[in-house]
């Protein structure tokens, strides 16, 4: 009798938790492993899309094979390792050779990782894509909105910030209402982008 109560108060709960943990963790791990391949594919497509977008090349957003095709046609990865090149050499829609470079900088909450696209002069932006950012949703995170990113095309620095929706010359950038810190962080990144790009590309021997 005593042994049984000992079993039900001490041993059983532990056994139960162990069994439950094993069952659920293996189920979750199984699902993780079956989707791992897909996740990796997503990530590589994500990077390719970002490069194409920054270079201003049109592509169908939801068609991975097509994106792959356009990418292989237009973009050449230079240096670095597989999947993490130093920079990208791109054939721009105009036919001229452009470059796309990773530029990193501090945001309000964490690092902002962006890919800037340049024309051959390494001065004029062809566009930008923010690959990683942790800005406040609804405020700073609006840097990922289309209209905000589009404003970079054809501009060259050094820049100054103007009120949201007010930029009308090539050295002005729109700020975001309610996200002064993020706007300034992006300004800083944009201002140093050309110089970093020139260094990276020169190191690549061009």
């Amino acid at each position: 009798m005593k042994q049984e109560s000992m079993f039900s108060t001490r041993v059983y709960p532990v056994l139960f938790m162990v069994a439950l943990t094993v069952v659920f963790i293996s189920a979750v791990s199984g699902i993780f492993l079956t989707t791992e391949e897909r996740v990796r594919l997503n990530e590589s497509i994500f990077q390719k899309r970002a490069v194409l977008y920054a270079a201003g090349i049109d592509f169908p957003r939801d068609n991975p094979p097509k994106i792959q095709e356009i990418y292989e046609d237009r973009v050449q990865e230079v240096g670095g390792e597989q999947g993490q090149p130093d920079y990208f050499r791109v054939e721009l829609p105009s036919g001229e050779t452009g470059y796309a470079v990773y530029v990193r900088g501090a945001g309000l909450w964490g690092e902002i990782v962006s890919i800037f696209g340049f024309r051959q002069d390494l001065e004029t932006f062809t566009g930008v894509e923010f690959v990683e950012q942790n800005e406040t949703p609804g405020l700073g995170a609006r840097i990922t909105e289309q209209w905000y990113k589009e404003q970079f095309r054809g501009k060259s620095g050094p820049f100054q910030l103007v009120a949201e929706g007010a930029s009308d010359s090539p050295d002005e950038l729109d700020a975001l209402t309610g996200a002064s810190r993020t706007s300034e962080a992006v300004l800083k990144i944009a201002n140093k982008a050309a110089e970093e790009a020139r260094e990276t590309v020169e190191q690549g021997g061009e």
Binding site: P13, L20, I25, F32, G138
Partner: protein, 205 residues
């Protein structure tokens, strides 16, 4: 054996007066943050419905086996596992949305509604009834947030689901996409619903 009437009541209760969001203002933490975009809210809500339903069924099926002392731990483990499944699935099949939702998917675990329904309902009822309860609690929760997201995105950006609805004549209310907008919208929603319920009660007298 559950009667038809009980099943129906289990389903309709959380959709109306006993809706967890405006009756008790529970569980808004994890999802309110993503209500500035309708698309994110809908996906997030589906995740919540999936988790409430399946965790309700699982906990209810195991309720006679779960020892009292580790009840909370067991429930948390089950809920967390389902949330991870949601996270992994989103990451593999909807990477864009996954990236925007960020940490908020994980926070479904601490959504008070899921834990609350598990404790209050699934521990005492059959798996079938828990399924209905989980489903309707999830739906009751989802529609409130979807209504909020609808107004926030429409008024804040003039768009719905990323498609421009209101033309150039509309001045975007920046406040709606900022954090305070969510609080105001939810307050207005609670006010309207509660006002209607109070009026109904008065008329019934």
């Amino acid at each position: 054996m559950a009667t038809r009437g009980k099943m129906k009541k289990t389903f309709t209760d959380p959709l109306g007066k006993n809706n967890p969001v405006f009756a008790q203002v529970l569980g808004i933490c994890s999802t309110l943050a993503v209500t500035n975009k309708l698309e994110n809210t809908v996906i997030m809500s589906l995740g919540v419905i999936f988790t409430t339903t399946l965790s309700g069924v699982t906990i209810s099926a195991l309720r006679k086996l779960i020892p009292g002392r580790v009840r909370m731990m067991a429930e948390t483990l089950i809920i967390a596992s389902f949330v991870i499944i949601v996270d992994i699935t989103l990451r593999a099949y909807m990477p864009d949305v996954w990236q925007q939702l960020g940490p908020y998917v994980g926070l479904i675990i601490t959504n008070c509604i899921i834990m609350g329904r598990a404790e209050a309902f699934a521990m005492n009822n059959s798996a079938g009834l828990s399924l209905i309860d989980g489903l309707s609690s999830g739906i009751g929760y989802a529609y409130v947030l979807i209504v909020i997201a609808f107004f926030r995105e429409l008024m804040g950006t003039g768009e719905l689901w990323g498609i421009t609805i209101l033309g150039d004549w509309w001045t975007n209310w920046a406040i709606m996409v900022m954090p305070p907008g969510a609080f105001f919208m939810l307050a207005i929603f609670v006010w309207v619903v509660k006002g209607a319920i109070l009026k109904e009660e008065e008329a019934a007298k």
